[in-house]
């Protein structure tokens, strides 16, 4: 390549020379003045490729959003507004469908269910042929959920429609008022949280899944913790004017079909946790054995028994880390201060280090006995929870991750803009 020097007018040359001289003077002066300087050296992290086997994807492709689903042999995802099914093993496209699509989508039985505006369409997962298509609402469908042969679809406003999964025929509606969100869908009971009426008041509406009959409604709860054995567990709002609200909380145990409160579990932290009730970052996990509650920062997890308690039965923490998931395999998983992955064992509180320090953890999926970790630097790692062995490290071009999916002998990694398929490492 030949470069031609641009013509520069004389005045401009003069100015440029003057500026150059001034800059030279400035630098000379700066150097001689020895202005005070300051600096900070952060941690020097080792190259992660030295710490785990580098995985090479079998194939990779563009992705509109990390909403892919997997079938027996393919991964189905949105690319440039079109739904495509690509064979896991080969990367060959099996079928494609539509245009200008944004989802959401889900996989159920042998179908891929797709929302397109206010319409829901079911495709044969094997060949992409349309099985049925039903107009659900005038607004774009935002929520799709299934249980058994029931599909629930809705925009979040104006109620939800219940369809037969096999035919797409509408069977009944859930006439939830206001702006509503599906918080529980089971074969018998469906519960929505809805905001309407007075400000800062959240209603809970429960319906029969099979008929749409409203079973009960109630208010005064902050969140639904779970539905087990015919009972719904709801975190109560603190009593108005209570000065010790952040040192205690309570749970209502409600008959799931009648809505009557059968038990009132009262708990105390035995210390004041500032703004605990107001924090949206507080996590609560109800299991069949215990209730696990974090402090507002997530640094500690308190374990309480069912039925209420004057103090936690155990407190778990991981060296300044923040709670991320669990209980899972009797572990509570934390992201350490150095962004390593740690776990506290429920039985003894001992800390297990699963993953070396690195950048921020942006995604954590627990599948079987394996943890899949996406980091903000675009690396995706798999680590075995049984023996703390790192099984792969994958470098992607993105920074965020969607759910990690597994099918057969493959792992599907969803980056912020691409889907990558790996062979699962034994």
């Amino acid at each position: 390549m030949t470069r031609h020097r641009a013509h520069v007018p004389a005045a401009a040359r003069t100015i440029r020379a003057a500026v150059t001289a001034l800059l030279a003077l400035t630098f000379t002066f700066t150097a001689s003045a020895q202005l005070p300087t300051d600096s900070y050296q952060g941690p020097l992290l080792p190259d992660p490729s030295l710490l785990a086997r580098r995985a090479e994807p079998v194939w990779r492709d563009r992705l509109d959003s990390p909403t892919a689903v997997v079938t027996e042999s393919a991964v189905v995802y949105l690319r440039d507004g079109r739904l495509v099914a690509t064979e896991l093993a080969s990367g060959w496209q099996q079928w494609s469908y539509g245009s200008g699509l944004t989802g959401p989508l889900l996989q159920a039985e042998d179908l891929v269910i797709l929302a397109d505006g206010g319409r829901v369409t079911a495709l044969d997962a094997a060949d992409g042929t349309q099985r049925w298509s039903t107009q659900v609402t005038e607004l774009p469908v935002r929520f799709l959920e299934t249980t058994g042969t029931v599909l629930v679809a809705g925009s979040g406003a104006g109620g939800y429609l219940v369809l037969d999964l096999r035919t797409g025929a509408p069977s009944h509606t859930f006439d939830v008022p206001g702006v509503a969100r599906l918080v529980h869908l089971g074969p018998e009971l469906t519960i929505f949280s809805a905001d309407y009426g007075e400000p800062n008041v959240r209603w809970y509406h429960a319906y029969s899944t099979s008929t749409g009959e409203e079973l009960w409604r109630g208010r005064g709860w902050l969140r639904l913790l779970g539905v087990m054995d015919g009972r719904a567990y709801l975190l109560n709002q603190p009593a108005p004017g209570s000065t010790a609200a952040d040192a205690r909380f309570s749970v209502s145990v409600v008959d799931a079909t009648r809505g009557t409160r059968s038990e009132h579990w009262q708990y105390e932290f035995s210390e004041l946790l500032d703004a605990w009730h107001l924090s949206a970052d507080t996590s609560l996990r109800l299991t069949g054995e215990a209730l696990y509650v974090t402090d507002p920062r997530g640094g500690r997890v308190f374990s309480f028994p069912h039925g209420g308690a004057g103090e936690p039965t155990a407190t778990y923490a991981a060296a300044g880390g923040a709670y991320r998931a669990g209980p899972y395999l009797n572990l509570l998983l934390f992201e350490g201060e150095d962004h390593n992955l740690l776990a506290a064992a429920l039985d003894s509180g001992r800390i297990i280090e699963y993953l070396f320090p690195g950048t921020l953890i942006s995604r954590l999926d627990l599948v079987g006995t394996r943890a899949y970790v996406g980091r903000a630097d675009g690396t995706h790692l798999a680590v075995d929870l049984t023996n703390a062995r790192v099984r792969h490290l994958l470098r992607t071009n993105g920074s965020g991750f969607g759910p990690t999916l597994t099918a057969g002998g493959y792992v599907v990694v969803q980056g912020s803009a691409e889907v990558l398929v790996l062979e699962a490492v034994e």
């Binding site: 086997r53 009797n330 572990l331 003894s348």
Partner: protein
């Protein structure tokens, strides 16, 4: 450098007995105590081209061609990758076991062992010493005082053997309490060395031959009891260094089991510590034993240094009975281990044998190395320990180019090398 030797010992593996004309190699890999695939296994024949070998459940079958081959096993750890390169003749080894450093089941709660010792009164004014071993771990060592308590947290160990010993100071243990397959869940344990269950141990003599050698001033005699239940405990008397005779204790015949073993070792070093001689014997039936120290294997010399990739040539004088040359090189990030058959010596007319060490990933900074030759006449355990006989370790460094065409300079310090080959910092 002890760390380097430990590193080497952990990667030196069960090397199968030579068989004739093997065309396949079966590689068994472990992750800690469990069979599991390594992170990568590659094999190369005489053409030098590497190909990956697929394994399942920690079993690899490599098809071999040509007269010799190389096998590279990569294990990733939180400290960085460890790459072990094996080089053998085609029909020299039929099976190989390689263990990647790793933990066992981290989900299982460790075992907490607590207990109390009861001992009789000491014979003299000086109190006796008591010790307690569970499996290969010592959980108590101290004065044998009445009611001494102990506690230790151990990896989950179902059915490990437990041994409590009572010994007069400087003497071989006289009494013991042995619990095979001890149930450690029922804490606390009560170990009563005065009870009827306590065993009166039998003494035997352990001696080392070559009493005229000046090296015997630095001789150590050790004896250990190893059982099938994983017990590994010292049963020898603590004698002053340089003693050519000592006693060791053995279980009474009535309680011996078929796979109990007594490992007897004599280790002698010269005044500089650079020459080590080691002899060991493994006995199923304890008896008075005299060990004969072998002549040391020749120490390696570094006779050439290279540039890009970083290369060092270690040379030994070829000796009969030396089966494997072993070595390791690490810069703290990547660790390379080498295990090579001595029978790969180029020819009988060229006495020195050279091990080419190429570590293309090593760039800049310090590194540590250790190389030695192993006399492999005995069992595998002896082969591993015999590595100590002729290993040399050291520290090196290299830095950026200083003259055109010279990519790296190299220097090494440590024990003995050919002086002409040593490049001191800045000498070019």
């Amino acid at each position: 450098m002890n760390g380097m030797k430990r590193l080497l010992l952990t990667v030196l593996l069960l090397l199968g007995a030579p068989v004739a004309a093997a065309q396949t190699l079966t590689l068994h890999t472990m992750f800690g105590p469990s069979p599991a695939n390594a992170d990568r296994v590659m094999v190369s024949g005489e053409d030098g081209r590497w190909r990956e070998v697929e394994g399942a459940g920690g079993v690899y079958t490599a098809q071999l061609e040509g007269a010799r081959y190389s096998l590279a096993v990569t294990c990733f750890t939180p400290q960085g990758p460890t790459i072990t390169v094996y080089r053998f003749l085609l029909d020299e080894v039929s099976s190989l076991q390689h263990t990647c450093p790793g933990q066992g089941d981290v989900l299982t709660t460790p075992t907490r062992v607590t207990g109390e010792l009861r001992t009789g009164p000491s014979a003299g004014r000086v109190p006796n010493l008591a010790s307690v071993y569970v499996g290969g771990r010592q959980v108590y060592s101290g004065v044998a005082s009445e009611g001494a308590t102990f506690g230790a947290t151990m990896p989950p160990s179902a059915g490990a053997d437990l041994l409590a010993l009572d010994a007069a100071l400087g003497e071989v243990p006289g009494r013991a309490l042995l619990q095979r397959g001890a149930d450690l869940a029922d804490a606390p344990l009560l170990l009563d060395l005065t009870s009827e269950q306590a065993l009166e141990l039998v003494q035997y003599e352990l001696a080392v031959a070559d009493a005229e050698s000046a090296m015997l001033e630095n001789t150590t005699l050790t004896a250990r009891l190893v059982t099938c239940g994983g017990l590994n405990a010292p049963v020898g008397a603590a004698v002053p260094a340089g003693s050519s005779r000592a006693a060791y204790a053995a279980l009474p015949e009535a309680v011996r089991e078929e796979c109990d073993r007594y490992e007897l070792t004599a280790l002698a070093t010269d005044a500089t510590g650079m020459t080590l001689r080691l002899a060991s014997a493994v006995l199923a039936e304890p008896t008075a034993t005299e060990l004969v120290l072998p002549e040391p294997v020749a120490l390696p010399l570094i006779d050439t240094v290279g540039t890009d990739p970083l290369r060092a040539r270690f040379t030994w004088q070829q000796e009969p009975g030396v089966l494997f040359y072993v070595g390791a090189l690490t810069d703290g990030r990547v660790t390379w281990n080498f295990v090579q058959s001595a029978w790969l010596a180029p020819s009988m007319t060229v006495a020195p044998w050279g091990a080419d060490v190429a570590a293309p990933d090593l760039r800049g900074g310090e590194f540590y190395w250790g190389f030695g030759a192993v006399r492999g006449a005995g069992g595998v355990d002896q082969v591993l320990r015999a590595y100590l006989q002729s290993s040399v370790t050291g520290q090196g460094g290299y830095w950026g180019p200083v003259t055109p065409g010279l990519a790296f300079q190299l220097y090494m310090t440590g024990g003995p090398w050919a002086p002409h080959a040593t490049e001191l910092p800045g000498s070019r």
